[in-house]
């Protein structure tokens, strides 16, 4: 078990990000206590430094080109389409998140904030490229630890403490589940290599299924699947808007990428899939229904978005099942995640801009009449919400459509698939009702018509990018 030279070469972007993150974190120590610069200059410096790291990583990927080896390097890492897609998703989200952080990062702890963010961005592609339980676990923990820190530093009140403690304890718990499952898998197969493990799926023992289920439990926490979703609303509520965007997107990408890696596509034996697929289906059904039903009941915008994020996990789990069963390309899930990034991060960026401009975005009612007060952000919100509902001319339409295609297609005789398709359809309608509630509030008449005039270019760029992508991807779905 060693990192080959080829693997190290292909991991250049991640290495750049890790080093960059560490350097940014050290910067605050190196600069000492001389806090003479004003806060705006500091914000600009750190954000620009982080952006440069990210751009350097992207440039490194382009310079290195797409690796040709495919499945050849089957040591710790494997560089195939999946790995590249995970990297793309992460860098896309990272770009938007850094722009969002520009003016919302916590004042005193800029260095730690950006350092942690960059390390998370480096860790997710590592999970995506992992071909070994060890590298996968390392990648996952490399996502988790900076997240604890980030949750802890963005807010200094009780809610922030509750969010970070809750997330820390439950996440550690989930990691233990994952490790327990991994130990079974290792004990059964005698190897931590995923290719070997997937090769022995065919032997289809109960022990194997148990190990897989435990590992799935651990990952279900990251993707906020029911019944591991309880932390989501509290964490979303107890943190900043930008951090809520981070929490809704980055752990989800990491978790789903790990699931795809762990379960493989079309490699499960009838014995193992007989246990895993029903569990995933039940989990998907519960996640969709509970997420959506609880979201309807919320008045708090943050909690509603948390439950909405839970519901989207349910749809993604359906896509995952379709993927496992039909040996389909994982493109559905990556496209869905890309569309999800554009719409959810866009929504949080708009909320962030409204807050930065002096408005409130805590309750849904706070957005009342926002179209008069802040037209640009309201239009961004409108596009994001229409996309979340899944109406045409937005990326969300294709995202939902493709999950339907994956779930229903060529399984017409299978009543379970049909049932899941119908359930998802019902859920999409429930979801439309609460998204519409936000949307109609935006255009409602309100007594306070004071325009919010403070302009934050970075947040504006963030949601402009999201809005443009959301609309553009409708017309070019293959680019999603």
């Amino acid at each position: 078990m060693q990192i080959t030279k080829a693997a190290a070469t292909h991991l250049t972007p991640e290495i750049i990000l890790l080093i960059g993150g560490t350097l940014v974190m050290c910067a605050s120590v190196l600069r000492g206590k001389s806090q003479r610069e004003d806060i705006y200059a500091q914000r600009n410096n750190y954000a620009v430094a982080s952006l440069i790291c990210l751009l350097a990583a992207i440039a490194a990927r382009y310079y290195r080109g797409v690796p040709e080896i495919g499945n050849a390097d089957l040591g710790l890492f494997r560089f195939d389409a999946s790995a590249l897609a995970a990297e793309r998703l992460t860098f896309l989200g990272g770009m938007i998140l850094i722009l969002m952080s520009w003016s919302t990062a916590p004042k005193g702890r800029l260095a730690e904030y950006y350092g942690c963010l960059l390390i998370i961005l480096a860790a997710i592609p590592i999970v995506g490229a992992s071909n070994d339980l060890v590298s996968m676990f390392l990648g996952l923990e490399l996502v988790s630890f900076p997240t604890y820190i980030l949750l802890g530093i963005v807010r200094n009140d009780n809610a922030g403490a509750e969010a970070s403690l809750k997330y820390f304890l439950l996440s550690a718990f989930a990691s233990c589940f994952f490790l327990l499952g991994v130990s079974y898998l290792f004990g059964f197969c005698g190897s931590t290599n995923l290719a070997v493990i997937q090769g022995s799926f065919g032997e289809g023992k109960r022990l194997m299924a148990l190990g897989l289920l435990l590992a799935i439990c651990g990952l279900a926490f990251r993707i906020t699947a029911v019944p591991f979703h309880f932390y989501a609303p509290d964490v979303f509520e107890g943190t900043s808007v930008t951090m809520a965007g981070v929490m809704s997107y980055l752990p989800k990408v990491a978790g789903f990428v790990a699931l795809i890696r762990l379960l493989g596509t079309g490699t499960l034996s009838p014995g193992a899939s007989g246990v895993v697929i029903p569990v995933l289906l039940v989990c998907a059904a519960l996640t969709m229904c509970i997420g959506n039903i609880l979201a309807v009941a919320q008045n708090n915008l943050r909690r509603m978005m948390a439950y909405s994020s839970v519901a989207h996990t349910g749809y993604l789990l359906l896509a995952l099942v379709a993927l496992i069963r039909q040996d389909a390309s994982p493109g559905v899930m990556y496209s869905y995640l890309a569309a999800y990034a554009a719409m959810t991060l866009g929504l949080f960026a708009c909320l962030g801009e409204i807050e930065a401009a002096g408005g409130k975005s805590h309750l849904i009612g706070d957005l009342s009449g926002m179209f008069q007060r802040r037209p640009a952000a309201s239009i961004g919100l409108t596009v994001a919400l229409i996309s979340l509902i899944g109406l045409p001319f937005t990326a969300g339409f294709w995202a939902k459509f493709m999950v339907f295609v994956g779930t229903v297609a060529d399984r017409q005789t299978d009543s379970i698939s049909m049932l899941m398709g119908a359930l998802m359809a019902i859920n999409a309608v429930i979801a439309a009702s609460y998204y519409w509630r936000i949307l109609s509030t935006l255009y409602a008449k309100s007594e306070s018509n004071v325009p919010l005039r403070v302009f934050r270019p970075s947040l504006f760029f963030a949601y402009t990018i999201c809005t443009v992508l959301t609309i553009l991807w409708f017309f070019v779905p293959s680019a999603m």
Binding site: S335, L391, F397, A409, Q412, M418, A425, A444, S478
Partner: protein, 495 residues
């Protein structure tokens, strides 16, 4: 390659965008919107001419139900090819969008053009607040409707079918003046989505059906209908395959055409929205469900559309005729009366479609067009009357409006009679054909439906009696403004 087809979709859309982004010059945009709508109307007339002058390629040998769909004019561009990043059973999904028009779509395009133009025209005088945005949204809705009627494949049909929702909910929400436009627009959105999202499952399974025979999946109507016709002629037993897909499609279209247990969104929406908006919804948007039945369910699933489905939907259609008429008799808010009468008339069309005979289908297509015009006209008249009188209630007292507005009164009587199916006016032809088509399938349903026509005449005459006659209307003396008679007279070419 027909240039009119993309223009029909793009002209209203582009002009709407111009209106939205016009900024401070917004006030001057109202005539611009009217111009765009007029241009759209001209384009749709042009398309109609092209379609009806094109040589008939349709070989009608096995009856209309089994005929394949062959557009007379078409627009297919290689750039409109959707490659989705998903593959099913190892086959990448690569769907070609195509647009085209045959007789039925040309008729509906013409209806959209006419109704759209007059709705925009009247909006300039009826809508007082944010007129230019209202007109812009109307133009978007027109564009999307054109897209539905011109699409020749499942995918673009579905995209436009869903997209019609967006401008409409905004129109209902933003300019509704009834009791609770917010609740109405929410109910409209949720009901329509509850229909259309399950429908997509049915559509996907239709598109995937060729995979079973080893052919690539396709969304083109022409190919799918050819496959369906082949299946029908090869004698596969009816109702053996895909029946759930048909039920999902029927559910989706059924909600859109407000069939009985799924109709509750319709009166609420019609009562809450501005009558001018309602005229577009009632005359064109409510026809989307029927158009879907005619275009997708009947030609593409002849094998799967079982006789049970045919009878269930037919029976619901017959019930809705009587139910709508009875409720229309009992309501006294004029908007609700019109809403339920529209519900009742849509029942006739459903009945005709579900007969699956050539008379029934032809009658239904014709009635879709005619009813569209009649309903739109009724709502326009209502909108003008409401502008002069405020909300119109039938039961308060006899209003005697004929004395004040003789021209409007004549029109109202005219359209009421047309709606009631008086021979010599357009309502008669369609109703007669649909009923004679259904006669071959089930006589009982026709008997129920005929009851509906009697009731229809009853509530029609009730409107006329309560509203127009009975007093000399001296209470209002200063309201007799010159009528918008010019734009109405253009309607009088109805057969």
């Amino acid at each position: 390659m027909n240039i009119l087809i993309p223009l029909l979709i793009l002209v209203p859309l582009a002009s709407a965008l111009v209106i939205f982004f016009s900024g401070p010059r917004a006030k001057a945009m109202v005539p611009f919107g009217m111009l765009a709508a007029a241009l759209t109307l001209l384009l749709s007339i042009g398309l109609c001419f092209q379609v009806y002058q094109a040589p008939s390629t349709l070989t009608q040998n096995a009856g209309a139900a089994q005929a394949t769909i062959a557009p007379k004019v078409s627009f297919i561009s290689e750039t409109l090819r959707f490659v989705l990043p998903v593959s099913v059973a190892g086959q990448p999904i690569d769907w070609q969008l195509s647009f085209g028009a045959d007789g039925i779509s040309a008729l509906m395009v013409l209806l959209t053009g006419i109704v759209g133009f007059f709705t925009v025209w009247l909006a300039s005088s009826q809508i007082r607040v944010r007129t230019e945005t209202y007109i812009g949204l109307l133009l978007v809705a027109i564009s999307m409707l054109m897209g539905v009627f011109l699409s020749m494949d499942l995918l673009s049909f579905y995209i436009f079918f869903e997209a019609v929702l967006i401008p409409l909910i905004l129109l209902i929400h933003g300019w509704g003046d009834g009791k609770n436009p917010q609740a109405a627009s929410k109910r409209f959105l949720l009901f329509t989505l509850a229909g259309s999202i399950p429908m997509v499952v049915g559509l996907i399974s239709l598109a995937m059906a060729p995979l079973a025979n080893g052919q690539p999946s396709t969304v083109a109507f022409s190919e799918l209908s050819a496959i369906a016709a082949q299946a029908a002629s090869s004698g596969v037993p009816i109702g053996s395959k895909d029946s759930w897909a048909v039920w999902l499609l029927l559910l989706g279209f059924g909600i859109k055409l407000a069939i009985l247990p799924l109709h509750t969104w319709l009166p609420m929406t019609y009562a809450a929205a501005h009558p001018n908006t309602t005229s577009l919804i009632a005359s064109v948007v409510a026809k989307l469900g029927l158009y879907g039945l005619l275009r997708i369910v009947i030609p593409l699933t002849p094998v799967a559309l079982s006789i049970e489905a045919q009878l269930v939907v037919g029976t619901l259609g017959a019930i809705v005729i009587v139910y709508g008429a009875l409720v229309a008799l009992s309501k006294d808010n004029m908007r609700e009366v019109l809403a339920f009468s529209s519900l009742s008339h849509v029942g006739f069309i459903t009945l005709g479609l579900m007969s699956m005979t050539r008379e029934g289908l032809g009658g239904a297509a014709l009635q879709m067009f005619n009813h569209g015009l009649i309903t739109a006209a009724m709502f326009w008249i209502l909108s003008m009357l409401e502008q002069r009188h405020g909300p119109i209630r039938l039961r308060s007292e006899d209003q005697g409006m004929a004395a004040q507005y003789p021209k409007l009164a004549v029109l109202l009587v005219f359209f009421t009679l047309a709606g009631a199916g008086l021979p010599g006016l357009n309502g008669f032809v369609g109703e007669f054909l649909t009923l004679s088509g259904m006669m071959r399938v089930c006589t009982t349903l026709v008997a129920i439906a005929v009851l509906g026509t009697v009731l229809g005449a009853w509530y029609g005459l009730r409107i006329v009696q309560r509203l127009l006659f009975g007093s000399n209307g001296t209470r209002y003396d200063n309201h007799n403004r010159p009528l918008a008679g010019v734009d109405l007279r253009a309607q009088e070419w109805i057969p």
